[in-house]
Amino acid sequence: MAVAYAVLAGALFLTGVAWYYVSQNARTQEQSRFDEAAQRTLQAVDRRMNTYVDAMFGTRGLFAASRSVERGEFRAYVRSLDLRRRYPGIQALGYARRVPAGGLEAHVESVREEGYEGYEVRPGGRGESFPLVYVEPEDAANRSMFLGRNMYAAGVHRAAMDRARDVNLPRASGKVAPGGPAGGPGFMIYLPVYRNGAPVSTVPERREALQGYVVAVFRARELLEDIFIQQGDPSVDFKVYDGAEFGEEYLLYDRGSTAGADGTGPAPLFSQTSTLQVGGRLWILRFSTLPGFGTSPQENLPRLVLYSGLALSLVLFGLTAMLARSRTQAERARSELEEANRELESFSYTVSHDLRAPLRSINGFSSILQEDYAGRLDEEGRDYLRRVSAASQNMGRLIDALLDFSRLRNRKLRTERVDLSGIARSIADELARRRPERRVEFAIQPGVTARGDPDLLRVALENLLGNAFKFTGKQERARIEFGVEDAGGAPIYFVRDNGPGFDMAYADKLFGAFQRLHKTDEFEGTGIGLATVRRIVERHGGEIRGVGAVGRGAAFYFTLDLDREKPSRRKQRFPRWFRRSGS
């Protein structure tokens, strides 16, 4: 299970790393999108303000081109500019004329003579004043709001006007409320107009030559909204402050308020503050993302990575845990098996040692009895003693055979190419040598080989040939064959004899340990030979079958296939003809 937890930890770590990387990547992309939007808006504001200032310079050009600009000329010029369409955000473009101290009455008189009966300068005053004499477009609102208005009386305007006069450049006022039907905050820009032909290279010269100002009235909302609709990102909030400080009193424009954000939402994802020079004043433009920002696919990717990574980690954990558990079970089964094998070995050892010792005593003392006390026993008694002796010897052989049989299971196979014909030949020679009185014909096919353990294969052939030799003991002309048949690629080895054979009804009992098909006094044997053969054949991935008929001999067919030691498909290895005849 430790492995499973390690896998889980590793997968979670990788998920975390992937999530972090992807979300950083997404964040970087979002950031650059935001930066780009902010930069675009900033540039648009700057560009538009320059355009507007250019329009003011054009208006000043009108004054430079004529001795005195009449109201009709001004109106015609401004109309040609088409303010509403080409310069949205300019509420009014006007001209403030310089009226020296004490000249106010004459000024009012002259304007009234133009047909403005109720014209007044507001507020009036004794000092120098700059009343707006031309205001275009001269609709009712602009006329009542601006005509005759002395901007110079208010400090916020006076500072901008004085500065514009001294530097001969357009200068913006601070935030003001121009009023009017649209309302909202705004500002004004003043561009000085000097007397034609007068020198204006120094400040005193400019002050002396000043005739008035071209005045542009801006309403912030119209001006900036329009820029924003064209250039902005709807999910980015945008605030413009006049001056170097934040605060409601400096707030010229707040896009968020128009978009419905109330500032109580979550902290913005990104924000950025830029500054811009507008008519000599510093504006602060503050951009910040709204909650709607970042619903793009890139934003969802980290979450996707995170969730799928977590799911994958859990799946991996489950799989590993299952594997670990089944491996633990397999290991437990294996250790139980090893334990069982060890017990079997110690059992075998006990059998080998302790069961043989009393047998040796039985045999030994019955032999001594036969040797030393034979004279005191009659023939029957001596026969009994011989039977005791023979039985104990038989049991000794049985124990040895049983031990060999049980050791077969654990024995490690030593695999090489084995000369089966050679082995069969040497076994046949040994059998014939042991019983020289018997006439047995061995027909051993030369050159038969197989891959396997030479010692075990010798044991198998010893049993098969030994059985054949034993069971043909009563034949006049015994014939024993060993060879191989090729049945479609898989060789089938066989040992055949012309002995008494067996009844196929008992064929499945042939290979069981201690199963005998013949009476003990007919043919001797331990009853374990064929069981041993079958175990050897199976250890070699093969199969063995016996075929016989009473009085017509017996045949044993076996295969050896070390490459296919698994018992599956074993049934199919014998060809059809063989299976039919064998069942």
Binding site: S348, H353, A357, R360, S361, G364, Q393, G396
Partner: protein
């Protein structure tokens, strides 16, 4: 000949059968019997003057100190490290045979169940080790 055999054997039947065979074949004039490993070691290394055996017949499965341990101690001692030791046991376990030779056994004989074969084995090994074989 004055030949002494030390028979280390815990089974009294086997002891009797071995003694009978040795007596019949006239090989040794004295057989000392130790019934377990400790007794054998006591005889070989204990106090007092003992007759030194020319051959040790050693069973493996013994009470108290087993045969392989006896063999290890014999081979570790200068007085007995050249003494011929024949393992005479019921076991045919490969591991016992390998261990026996590893520890310096001179021979490994498995006791046959058949008494004639057993007698013949004992007679032959006695003849070989006590008569034919030369020791330093």
């Amino acid at each position: 000949m004055s030949k002494t055999i030390l028979l280390i054997e815990d089974n009294p039947d086997d002891e009797l059968l071995t003694l009978r065979t040795l007596k019949r074949s006239n090989i040794a004039n004295e057989v000392i019997v130790a019934r377990d490993g400790a007794e054998a070691l006591e005889y070989l290394f204990g106090e007092g003057v003992r007759v030194r055996p020319e051959l040790v017949l050693l069973d493996l499965k013994l009470p108290r100190i087993d045969g392989l341990e006896v063999l290890r101690r014999l081979r570790a001692d200068r007085r007995t490290h050249l003494l011929p030791v024949v393992i005479l046991t019921s076991s045919r376990e490969q591991q016992d045979i390998v261990d026996g030779y590893d520890l310096g056994a001179n021979s490994y004989i498995r006791k046959p169940v058949d008494f004639d074969q057993f007698s013949e084995a004992v007679r032959q090994l006695g003849l070989y080790w006590l008569v034919l074989n030369e020791v330093p």
